[in-house]
């Protein structure tokens, strides 16, 4: 008899959860089947819509990089190739991403949903995450400092990053911790200053108070701050120790280092469940605004965002089946079947289990999420074998230069305006399948800074269309 829902979403990342949320709020019975936890745990937690214009003609020279000349975006997690591509897009960050959307190439996923589709998706997002996120008051990109001391143009940022914006001219003290080596505060401060930010930035490195192990995980610090557990700190001269609540102890360490800065930035580890409370306590102790600098994986802002979206989905009645991959599908047979997908098959440790639905959403991510697979033979979408256009000669996947504009970054599924995947001749692969997020082709999210935005916009649109179809049936 098996398991049956109106809409089945494959993939539990940002795109999949957005599709599920949108569909469930339309009244459809929705299930998300996801192999692994989402990649949000590794993502910065920033929600970019469009930070840089894409290359006008892929492969064409687009001006030389002029490092340090202006405020320039950077993503420490991106590969060097993407970084260089971006640096060649010397136009600098976009002020208003919405203005640029209509000029994007026809193949770009934003062109499928239009500017209004992107706006509606951000509304859905704002509603789901509530006051955890900021940025909805304006169309303009916010400039958020990252842990390498670069500036990233983004549309929505966690409330915890709000006091750190680069457009703010209050002097800032960046505080790094000896054992959190991903954030070198003095270096980040120097980078910010050389990028021409309108404020004085200074960085110091301190020891996180308490006897934490040298390789303590970020989540361990976050837990200590959440619960405000007592930690031992050495008294002056090291002759005695006293114990203080963690938030107070941390403020004590930082206080001595403040030289009148009005805001203090920490690596993003200020609490997981009570981030607002942690910031509030620190601000009260320090008499200065406190902000977090987004970090690489694992990322607390990413974890918090994942938590917020999962609860929004649960509240809307979305069901989750996590832990096993979808490996194949069944089409309906007999009269009226017309090639629709009837069920997908999930591999449960060797047993193949069908999940039935009226309508399906493919949200399995790109090369990172394993939604697009590449091997010596070529590039493919592994579940439905949807068409992924790519040069048949492997050598054409890459530019000659190591840091060139590699076509593979744009590999992915192509769709019609209803986000239904198309085969190599431009015909529908399946009438009741839609695709969203990084599995889509036609854009390079690392270079243009549009990762989360494309997932939200296409996720919402795919979810709504699937719900319509699922409820009709």
């Amino acid at each position: 008899m098996a398991i049956e829902d109106d809409v089945l979403v494959i993939g539990g990342g940002l795109a999949g959860m957005t599709a599920a949320l949108a569909a469930a709020r339309e009244g459809a019975g929705v299930r998300v089947v996801s192999h692994k936890e989402s990649t949000l745990r590794s993502a910065s937690g920033l929600v970019d819509v469009l930070g840089y214009p894409p290359e006008r003609a892929p492969g064409s020279a687009s001006g030389d990089a002029d490092p340090g000349a202006s405020v320039r975006g950077e993503d420490e997690n991106a590969d060097p190739a993407a970084r260089s591509r971006r640096e060649r897009a010397a136009d600098g960050p976009l002020v208003d991403p919405f203005e640029a959307i209509p000029d994007l190439p026809e193949s770009h996923p934003y062109r499928r949903v239009g500017v209004e589709g992107v706006r509606d998706a951000l509304d859905l997002f704002d509603d789901a995450v509530g006051d955890r996120y900021r940025g909805g008051h304006t169309d303009r990109n916010a400039l958020v400092p990252t842990h390498g001391g670069r500036i990233k143009p983004t549309a929505r940022y966690p409330a915890s990053a709000a006091a750190g914006l680069a457009s703010d001219d209050r002097p800032a003290l960046l505080v790094g911790f000896e054992t959190v080596t991903d954030f070198d505060a003095p270096l980040a401060a120097a980078h910010l200053e050389s990028a021409g930010v309108p404020f004085a930035a200074r960085g110091v490195t301190v020891r996180f108070p308490g006897g934490f192990r040298a390789d303590a995980r970020l989540t361990r610090f976050a837990d200590a701050l959440d619960s405000n557990e007592r930690v031992e700190i050495g008294g002056s001269g090291g002759s005695y120790t006293e114990s203080l609540p963690a938030r107070e102890a941390l403020a004590e360490v930082v206080k001595d280092r403040l030289r009148g800065e009005q805001r203090v930035g920490f690596p993003a580890l200020l609490g997981q469940h009570d981030a607002a409370g942690v910031r509030e306590s620190l601000e009260a102790e320090l008499g200065a605004a406190v902000f977090e600098v987004p970090m690489g994986p694992p990322s607390l802002p990413g974890l918090r965002l994942e938590g917020a979206l999962v609860s929004a989905c649960r509240d809307a009645g979305v069901r989750f089946s996590t832990g096993n991959p979808v490996v194949g599908y069944e089409t309906a047979t007999g009269p009226g079947g017309d090639g629709e997908i009837a069920a997908v098959r999930v591999d449960r440790n060797g047993a193949s289990v069908p999940f039935h639905a009226e309508s399906f959403v493919l949200a399995t991510g790109g090369l990172v999420g394993k939604g697009i697979d590449s091997d010596r033979e070529g590039v493919k979408e592994p579940i439905f074998d949807c068409h992924v256009s790519h040069p048949s000669d492997r050598y054409d996947w890459f530019e000659d230069e190591t840091f060139g504009d590699h076509p593979f970054a744009r590999f992915g599924v192509e769709t019609d305006d209803d986000l239904r995947p198309l085969d190599s001749r431009g015909a529908l692969e399946f009438p009741n399948l839609r695709a969203c997020g990084a599995v889509l082709g036609g854009y390079d999210f690392a270079a243009e800074k549009s990762g989360a935005g494309v997932s939200l916009a296409t996720g919402r649109a795919a979810g709504l269309a699937a719900a319509r179809e699922g409820l009709e049936a």
């Binding site: 008899m1 398991i3 936890e37 590794s42 995980r217 361990r220 449960r348 060797g350 047993a351 394993k370």
Partner: protein
């Protein structure tokens, strides 16, 4: 429904078993360590890109500062090992084998498989056979042997185990915590009941399941086993109860791989024979089904291992896939029952974590509230160890809190040791979903 199970009807999308039989010739066990003596973590560890996501999922690392976390236990340990003569770090004994790290890793690094094998090597080379820890772990791992002895004289055993002098002795001599009360042994084991009832009440050539009851349903909670039999019989199934040994779960968790291998060999042989007779395998304990489905093929390659893995299901999952369980529940009702449901880690691993809640949604009079994604903290034998007791309770704290917050006074879970922990932390009575199904569906 039975036509959907006709093997000739190959177009039927409901026939889950169509692709489920795996040819043993074609099956290759994943050789993480190559020769069992030669530790070779290479394939897995090369896939690790050090993102540390696994560490954020580990319940032990969350509360135990001494525990370096799954990334160290798996991929990093191997890298060290490759560089030179590095022994397995004893911290691997603090891993509770909850397998949450497996689900978190975006790169398919087989973490728990690495931990299981590393633990095996540590126990083999690093732990004295005479040490108290070894003796205690071996005893806990071989719970079935104890249980078999205990249940021959259940009243005496229950009396002794509940006796505080004995509990103190256990703690002092063996390092088994005196904080917990030993589970009571049933006066009639499941198998005794099965025999006295004369075995199966339903015979059928095309609907047949072999029930892997495991140790706990046999010796401690035969009501769960009986519920399984009655519910399946009500759907017209012939139930087989093949001879069986411990699934091996507590043995893997304690690094007793030789014991586990011996038990697994018997189980695979018996269950493969049942498959020959046309049965699929069902289990009521999620750690047992996980062991048959995932750990056996990861660690052993007896003949039949792959087909046993592919044909094993958690009992409720099975009914949901092959019968109209949702419909049957919609047509029934029970008297007002609210449950605080905890999804065992090993249910998560099999992708069936939300199932019980979804099913009770359909049943008039019952409801189940999920008490959240945290780990119960007991992880089988882990929470029984005196030195692990505090860690175990610290991990469980979140679940206890959520249980207290839920509008229910009764717990619900598929895992017998999670049930113990739930009961221990809240004083709630805890039921198995099969017992609820029995109350709803069987006259």
């Amino acid at each position: 429904m039975s036509d959907a199970r006709n093997p000739d009807d190959t177009d039927d999308t409901d026939d889950v078993r169509q692709e489920a039989t795996v040819d043993d010739e074609a099956f290759e066990p994943v050789a993480v360590f190559g020769e069992s003596e030669e530790m070779d973590l290479r394939p897995g560890s090369d896939d690790c890109y050090k993102c540390s996501t696994c560490d954020t999922a580990c319940p032990v690392a969350e509360v135990d500062d001494e525990f370096p976390g799954p990334k160290f236990q798996g991929p990093e340990q191997w890298r060290l090992k490759r560089k030179g003569d590095h022994d397995i770090d004893e911290s691997v004994m603090s891993c509770s084998n909850c397998m949450r790290c497996d689900d978190a890793c975006p790169s398919d690094v087989p973490l728990s498989q690495m931990h299981n094998t590393a633990r095996g090597e540590y126990v083999k080379n690093g732990m004295s056979r005479l040490s108290r820890e070894y003796v205690r772990n071996r005893m806990l791992a071989n719970y079935r042997t104890l249980a078999r002895l205990g249940s021959t004289v259940p009243r005496l055993t229950n009396f002794l185990m509940g006796n505080s002098v004995v509990q103190t002795l256990n703690e002092k001599l063996l390092g088994i915590t005196s904080e917990r009360e030993f589970p009571e042994f049933a006066e009639e084991t499941f198998r005794e009941w099965w025999e006295s009832r004369g075995g199966a009440n339903v015979e059928s050539d095309d609907k047949r399941v072999a029930y892997f009851h495991g140790c706990y349903a046999n010796y401690n909670t035969p009501a769960v086993g009986k519920a399984a039999v009655r519910v399946f019989e009500s759907f017209g199934y012939e139930v087989l109860v093949p001879p069986q040994r411990c699934s091996g779960t507590p043995m893997f968790a304690n690094g007793m791989l030789d014991d586990a291998e011996r038990a697994a060999e018997v189980n695979v042989e018996e269950l493969a024979a049942a498959i020959e007779d046309g049965a699929d395998i069902i289990a009521s304990c999620t750690s047992c089904s996980m062991s048959l489905r995932q750990e056996y093929p990861e660690l052993f390659d007896f003949e039949g291992t792959a087909s046993v893995a592919a044909r094993t299901y958690e009992a409720v999952e099975y009914l949901r896939l092959f019968e109209d369980l949702d419909g049957a529940l919609e047509d029934s009702e029970i008297e007002g029952q609210e449950f605080a449901y905890h999804a065992p880690c090993h249910a998560r691993n099999q992708g069936i974590a939300g199932q019980a809640v979804e099913l009770l949604d359909r049943l008039d009079g019952a409801s189940a509230e999920d008490v959240g994604p945290s780990c119960s903290g007991i992880s089988g034998t882990y929470g029984w160890k005196q030195e692990k007791y505090d860690t175990s309770m610290a991990i469980g704290a979140e679940m206890f809190e959520h249980m207290e917050d839920a509008d229910a006074e009764t717990g619900l879970t598929e895992c017998p040791t999670c049930a113990m922990q739930m009961e221990h932390g809240t004083g709630y009575e805890v039921r198995h979903p099969l017992e609820v199904l029995e109350a709803a569906l069987v006259e």
